[in-house]
């Protein structure tokens, strides 16, 4: 639980810094995208720490490229 609080605090500090540093220079678009990415990253990090079923891109890619890699791997591993 301590680590979740730590991640949240870090994200809050980083978000404030991004807001301050990019607001004054007329970079509102950059600020918006950075905050969106930070929110996604923080949610993902907290989800992983709480052992929630977070999506793993590795599984998605394994499924997506299954029809391609399985025959190749089968050919490579035959008689190994």
């Amino acid at each position: 639980m301590l680590i979740v609080i730590g991640i949240s605090l870090l994200a809050a500090v980083a978000g404030t810094l991004i807001w301050i540093r990019n607001g004054k220079k007329g970079r509102k678009r950059e600020r918006a995208w950075a905050l969106l990415l930070l929110a996604i990253g923080t949610t993902y990090a907290i989800g992983v720490q709480l052992r929630l079923p977070m999506p793993n891109p590795v599984d998605g890619i394994t499924y997506l490229f299954g029809p391609v890699y399985k025959p190749i791997l089968g050919w490579i591993q035959e008689e190994l």
Partner: protein, 401 residues
């Protein structure tokens, strides 16, 4: 340090570009790939590493051909010009996902290595966070700083590899290579598969770095890149030869970090012993370069896709995303082996060879060439002229070639 070193419109020299390309190639692959190749090709693994050379050269030829057509544009920018704005953005998004996952996997390699061999009682997340702090700072400072770091690490990397190999000469056994080609060339050809995806097709990162090479240096670039391909091939081949000659096939195929284990065997008259930490230091340096480049390319591609004036605000948020991704990417060592040596090659080939080749083919059919400037607009223009408008202003620059 230059006041503007952190901005995107920085320039590096051709030799700096070649050096960071070499370090990226050596990166995590030098320690991990020989194990996979030896498991497939056995004592002929060194032939597989030699066969990778021409394949690597062909992949680089695609990137260099694209760079010749669009010398000042990154892959995110010329994709939009070749296949249209929205299709180009969709293509760039696939590269963003690719480099996001690659960054997470490289970070996982570091925490696995340090956790298994150097810091066994330290939690993975702590190693990841500590490493990412340095990476964030490096990416934030920009490509010039990364390139200068690469110059230092390049010399140290080569020096340590040479020292390690020379120190192992007294334990080298030629009999470990027998029988040579006992099943013909089938096994060595199969052994190329893992190296093809990791790291050869990952070299697609260079499509973002090539436009940043100083215009006066570009005529030398092709020569430097080709020599670097030779150097990567020779280094990979030498490491594999020594692994088989010193550790033997079965131990190399079993060891998760074979080069590190090989360095443990160094013993010259009980005077020079326990120097494996040198391998660890250099490997951490080269993997640091690979991770810095991955995160840099990730942030720059996102910035270009979204027409932002700078990539810097994106660096920290991406790092926050990369750390948990690296923690959950692999479930166990069997999953690691299946994905890293089986699935990754097809994914990497799709992103690193198939898509760039298709882009090149479409650009060639449509006869597209563009010498226009493709770097980020200056910060002063950020409020008004973004992306394409700023590019149009620079579009009349003469071709450096």
């Amino acid at each position: 340090m230059s006041k503007y070193a952190g901005l995107n419109n920085a320039a590096i020299s051709a030799s700096q570009c070649a050096k960071i390309f070499f370090l990226f190639g050596l990166g995590s692959a030098a320690l991990i790939v020989p194990t996979a190749v030896t498991a497939i090709a056995k004592q002929d693994a060194w032939i597989s590493m030699l066969l990778v050379g021409p394949v690597n050269y062909l992949v680089m030829a695609v990137y260099l051909a694209l760079a010749e057509r669009f010398p000042n544009l990154s892959i995110a920018q010329y994709a939009e010009r070749v296949i249209g704005t929205w299709a180009g953005k969709a293509l760039t998004f696939t590269y963003i996902l690719f480099f996001l996952l690659l960054s997470a996997l490289v970070l996982r390699n570091i925490s696995d290595f340090l956790g298994l061999s150097v810091l066994p009682q330290t939690p993975d997340w702590f190693i990841d966070v500590t490493f990412m702090i340095v990476v964030i700072y490096g990416v934030y400072l920009g490509i010039e700083t990364i390139a200068r770091t690469g110059e230092i690490l390049f010399a140290w990397g080569l020096f340590v590899v040479l020292i390690i190999l020379l120190s192992l000469l007294n334990q080298f056994e030629l009999s470990q290579f027998e029988p040579l080609l006992y099943e013909g060339f089938e096994r060595p050809i199969k052994g190329v598969y893992p190296v093809f995806g990791f790291p050869v097709c990952e070299f697609v990162f260079i499509t973002v770095i090539l436009p940043l090479v100083d215009k006066e240096e570009r005529p030398k670039l092709k020569r430097y890149i080709n020599w670097t391909v030779v150097l990567i091939t020779v280094t990979g081949c030498l490491l594999t030869v020594f692994l088989i000659g010193v550790l033997g096939v079965s131990e190399t195929a079993r060891s998760p970090f074979a080069v590190y284990d090989m360095a443990k065997n160094i013993n010259i008259e009980e005077i020079l012993v326990r120097v494996e930490i040198l391998v660890a230091i250099v490997w951490i340096g080269t993997v640091f370069m690979k991770l810095v480049l991955c995160v840099y390319v990730l942030a720059v591609l996102t910035g270009q896709m979204l027409n932002l004036s700078t990539y810097r605000p994106l660096v920290f948020p991406y790092s926050v995303l990369v750390i948990p991704l690296s923690l959950i990417a692999y479930r166990n060592s069997a999953h690691t082996n299946l994905f890293a040596m089986g699935v990754w090659t097809t994914y990497s080939a799709f992103q690193g060879l198939l898509l760039p080749s298709l882009l090149l083919a479409v650009a060639a059919i449509r006869g597209l060439r563009d010498n226009g400037g493709g770097m980020f607009p200056k910060l002063a223009q950020a409020g008004g002229n973004r992306g394409s408008e700023a590019d149009k202003g620079q579009g009349e620059e003469p071709s450096p070639a």
